[in-house]
Symmetry: C2
Subunit: 189 residues, 2 copies
């Protein structure tokens, strides 16, 4: 049995990810996840409300990190640049977590129920970033657009980094935001 | 009793929207929707798989319209400009449907279960637009980014139009894509 709550939590996440890859999400029960992690099913439910949430544990931490970075950014920085800096900082943590992040994204992409949860989290992340930008004095209109576009571009960069690991997440971030600039500059003609 | 299937479908949508506004989504049953529309519950389920889907009937049509516009756009047009033209064309239909569109968006915003479905539809729309751009020869990387960013910007413009009806959807679209250009141009410094 794992000794600490934190250790149990980590083992449950690892066990869930392994089982979802081996058998698929729908074919895996919480009892099986608990058994592989060497804990009881009751312990599973002490840590996670359901078998979807076990893969989204890091989202709350990431959201807190990102909104703190937005709040701490230098005054006068343009809204999307504020977000890019926050994404770069968060990227440090994500890169360190690649052995988990990579199979996790693959499982989410292959599982409709997990994709739906992922999309809901993305919308919530956009809303949280918009609120953080508004708190810096960015207008409602620009804060909302910058936050959702920024998050989607970051998500796109993270996906590209998972697919092509020979380059760093920072390089993929730079490329994605350069693409966004080029795509936008071509409009309005 | 409504005479045609199309008429029953329209009445079910109107009845569902009214009831969701009056009592809330969770407090409304499919039997109540059917009763208000003057049809049987069996008729409800002939048209819609569940009480969420009744508000998303137009999405498949919108998706087909948008992807057809993307396919028909002149050669050589930049990817995001292709999408803006498609959104303008679809806007004609959306503007005509405002009496339904306005309360519909308000109900979705207020109902977590409907927001989740809306987010899933948005992701599917982004994927469909990306596929349509790829079919025009746009690279995978740019097609995916342009499609998701374009869709989110359109969604943002539609929300602004619902809130401020004194201006046309086209004006809101122009403003949103001008904002996107300005936000993006400020990055990369």
């Amino acid at each position: 049995m794992p000794r600490s709550g934190e250790e149990a939590r980590r083992r449950l996440q690892q066990a869930a990810l392994e089982l979802y890859r081996e058998r698929g999400f729908d074919q895996t029960t919480t009892a099986e996840i608990a058994a592989r992690a060497g804990v009881t099913e009751r312990t599973f439910f002490r840590h996670f409300p359901d078998k979807r949430e076990v893969l989204f544990d890091g989202e709350a931490t990431l959201r807190a990190d990102l909104t703190a970075s937005v709040a701490d950014a230098p005054d006068g920085l343009p809204p999307l640049e504020v977000l890019i800096r926050a994404f770069r900082k968060a990227g440090r943590i994500i890169e360190g977590n690649r052995p988990f992040a990579e199979p996790r994204l693959a499982v989410i992409a292959a599982t409709p129920a997990l994709r739906e949860r992922d999309q809901a989290k993305a919308a919530a992340m956009g809303d949280a970033l918009a609120a953080a930008l508004r708190a810096r004095g960015v207008t409602d209109r620009l804060a909302e657009l910058a936050a959702h576009v920024g998050w989607i571009t970051f998500h796109h960069a993270a996906g590209a980094w998972i697919e092509e690991s020979s380059r760093s997440l920072d390089e993929h971030l730079d490329e994605a935001f350069a693409d966004l600039r080029a795509l936008s500059a071509e409009t309005g003609g």
